[in-house]
Amino acid sequence: MSFFKEKSVFTRRQFVKGSGMLVAAAVLTGVFAKFGFDAFAASDDYIEKRIAGMYSLDESMAIRKSHENPEIIQIYKEYLSPGEVKPVSEKAHHLLHTRYGKDIPDLMEHLKHDPTEAA
């Protein structure tokens, strides 16, 4: 029985095509990586602009801290902690703090008994 086998002849054309395919793969990798790095840079740029925008918006506000807000101070003095400004008072805790997730069923039960309490 005769056996046929390819002879090891490596032509210039084959070398160029093999190398070309690897170069094309490297170029595609490079283009894709550039796309990724550009997207990363654009995202970073957006985040920095957003931070700058938030700071500039904050700086232009007349009242920049909630505990210095006259309306909040008045609400505490007149209702949440009568006669004084006491953050996280019992009433403030119940009215201003909410519950979520697995605490919701308890809250629903609680509201059934005391629907006047907001949270």
Binding site: F3, F4, E6, S8, A25, T29, G36, S43
Partner: protein, 219 residues
């Protein structure tokens, strides 16, 4: 059929090993990918649950990348010959595509043009697999290693490309499997790539006439 007798070594040992490694990885990657993309617990559980399936997918992806890379480095000559064959299209290849090599029942043809070591369909599949695998690798690793660093928009592109290229590759490989292992006209190819590398010279002279003529001349 011609009256040629003997055997032809069509695929060398390292090519067959690489094909096996890629095949096993592709099946694992396809199954795990389908399992956790479509949330098919039956498939994910074969790999120890969704979390383990995800781990298996990533490490199989690494072997899927390293296998051909090592093969190309160690067999650059063989790879270059493959690259040369699949990127060479002549009027014979166009003629094969017009008749689809006689594989499609309603596309009857009298004469199928002589083919190289790979027919025009195999050449297209070779190109598709190289480009497809490269895209899978390029989109896969950022999803694994840099998912917390890259912007969500870039990650979304990676997910979409990864998914749609996977769909195309799975369909293409299903067709490849059907023609190479099941179709009566071409299933003799199966043992050549999956077992000993040899194919009957008579079949090669018929299916790969141009390549076989060169082989005969060079003996």
């Amino acid at each position: 059929m011609s009256d040629v007798t003997g055997k032809v070594l069509k695929h060398g040992e390292q090519t067959r090993t690489m094909h096996w490694v890629h095949l096993v990885c592709f099946i694992i990657l396809g199954l795990t990918g389908i399992g956790f993309y479509f949330d098919v617990m039956g498939i994910s559980n074969l790999f120890g649950g969704p979390a383990n399936a995800s781990l298996v997918h990533r490490w199989a992806g690494l072997v899927f990348t390293a296998g051909p890379a090592i093969y190309i480095l160690l067999n650059f000559e063989r790879f270059s010959k493959f690259a040369d064959t699949i990127s060479t299209f002549t009027k014979d290849d166009v003629g094969w595509l017009k008749t689809m090599g006689g594989y499609i029942p309603f596309l009857k043809t009298e004469e199928i043009p002589p083919q190289d070591k790979y027919n025009a369909g195999q050449k297209l599949l070779g190109g598709l697999i190289i480009v497809g695998c490269l895209l899978m690798i390029l989109t896969g690793f950022p999803m694994w290693l840099w998912r917390h660093l890259v912007p969500p928009a870039f990650l979304a592109v990676c997910y979409s490309v990864h998914f749609w290229v996977a769909v195309i590759l799975i369909l293409a490989i299903a067709g490849h499997f059907f023609l190479a292992a099941i179709h009566p006209k071409s299933r003799v190819e199966f043992s050549s790539m999956m077992l000993d590398g040899y194919i009957d010279a008579e079949i090669s002279a018929h299916h790969n006439e141009k390549w076989f003529a060169e082989l005969e001349k060079s003996q």
